[in-house]
Symmetry: C2
Subunit: 317 residues, 2 copies
């Protein structure tokens, strides 16, 4: 008898990942495709991305062996359900995927315990209390314009604001001004208009043309803070403070899973948040597609089996 | 001999106005058209708006009588110069318009003194030091994303942030919560999703779809603050503080001209700024197109004539 398989889908803001596992946790297929947020990128593009990743992850595996599938899709819409059902059927998979919120998958990527909390800071920022692998409460996640405090976008915007405010006060960028130097090089390349004010105006124009591009400055803030830049250190401290405040509004007990690039990558924000959470059990999210596959497999396993195989499912490929 | 005329153009973010005056200041023609910012709306639309307003303002007046013209165009580009020269020539006006920065016109709309400062808060916010009716220094005006602190957009965004943050903390909007009630009615009409969180998510979606629409909330903040709402009062106080800080970075002497809807309309922000500027000579900008015409007329008048006729030119039509 051939072994049963499970399929996990993690379709987020920057990429779509599909992972195929045996029930013991062994990964037998994995693929990435473009971002597949149906709200942001349109239904057709999202379905195409998930379809491409599913095809590549299954490869020569027989779809009829898939006993369960689970998908977390950022910006999920009801219109997606029949589209993915058709995709799954085309691969001979007996059942369409079950849907869970993307934050549930991010939590499960860091913990096998059903109750705990997630603190996520990527492009956006949100905290959720999780009970029985369901979202029980949510804080922030209010978007780049009005919320997402401590997110990559928030950090990047704070950096850009600090740089243009300094230029607007007539300060020419100095070589030892690490953050300004990193931000100006990222935004303008080697181009430097003549006066501080003209440089500021140019940064403002570039930022307003693609405001979400500011999120890319978050990595430069980490770099500058690690090198001792006081403005960057201040931004990091405020970001960590906001994130922990957001978490405290939902957290009651259990592990705290850190997720999102700002909190999973080693660096000053992660360090500051971890320090503020001294006394909590802090875990770090690993592979989301593997976690989705693990959540799909859970009903087919005993509790001890599920717990002991969590690491095998979620270890990054 | 027929009397000489002057033409003033004030093309801003929300409308284009053209005013025609005799040299004694009497207004003999005036017209409004749609916004004509060539950077934001495209050159063709901007030129068409100015052309329509010029035609209507001149009406049956003979273009050859126009001795001088002056234009301030928000988002002015060099490509505009030949287009407006052709428009002016088509009306038989001997000389094309002279261009000045829109902030210079806003200043001249409030003062006949060549040296002083402008503090403007409309959709954006900026302060300029003016010397000889030229911009000598500028502070802020760094756009909605990274600056414009204390502007209508800034005030509206602070209001929306306060409302969604309160909802995110699980507080259902109460009837006596004046600001929340005004903001939710403006943004959602009578629609009210069931939970505070669902209301917050809906506000976030609407705001992100048209972020500049947040500027319209500034008037609601004024209304709520006037009615004693403490959150609105806090936003007003911070807006006024930011605006006066921005002004202090450029102001040295002479009158302070308040311009832009946030500062020219009676209300708590104007009151708070005026109070913080106790001891300064504070004036209020009047009609910008009339001020542009006055600046056009200045070289044709003696200094005492220009000073005594300023009110006639700039009194709102």
């Amino acid at each position: 008898m051939t072994e049963s398989l499970v399929v996990g889908v993690d379709a987020g803001a920057t990429s779509t990942r599909v992972s195929v596992h045996a029930l013991d946790g062994r990964r037998v297929g994995y693929a990435r495709a473009a971002a597949g947020n149906p709200t942001a990128h349109g239904l057709a593009k999202a379905v195409a991305a998930i379809g491409a990743a599913l095809k590549e992850a299954l490869d020569s595996l027989d779809g009829s062996r898939v006993a369960a599938s689970l998908a977390g899709v950022a910006g999920h819409t009801a219109a997606m359900v029949p589209e993915l059902a058709a995709l799954w059927a085309a691969h001979g998979i007996p059942q369409p995927p079950v849907y869970v919120r993307d934050v549930t998958i991010a939590y499960a990527a860091g913990s096998a315990e059903p109750d705990g909390s997630l603190l996520l800071s990527g492009t956006g920022a949100v905290a959720t209390r999780v009970a029985g692998f369901e979202v029980a409460r949510i804080a922030d996640g209010l978007g780049w314009l009005l919320g997402d405090q401590g997110s990559g976008f928030w950090i990047g915007r704070e950096a850009a604001k600090a740089v243009v405010a300094s230029l607007d006060r007539g300060r020419l960028p100095a070589r030892d001004d690490i953050l300004t130097d990193l931000v100006l090089t990222h935004v303008l390349g080697q181009e430097r208009p003549e006066t501080p004010r003209a440089i500021a105006d140019r940064v403002v124009r570039v930022a307003q043309t693609d405001h979400m591009g500011l999120a890319a400055l978050a990595a430069l803030v980490s770099k500058a803070a690690a090198a001792g830049d006081p403005v960057a250190e201040g931004i990091v401290g405020r970001a960590a403070g906001h994130l922990v405040d957001t978490l405290r509004r939902v957290h009651v007990s259990g592990p705290v899973v850190l997720a999102g690039s700002v909190l999973t990558n080693d660096g000053p924000v992660r360090d500051a948040v971890t320090e503020l959470l001294a006394g909590e059990r802090v875990a770090t999210a690993r592979d989301g597609a593997g976690a989705a596959a693990w959540l799909a497999a859970r009903p087919l396993l005993t509790e001890p089996e599920a717990a002991s195989r969590h690491a095998a499912f979620t270890t990054a490929p």
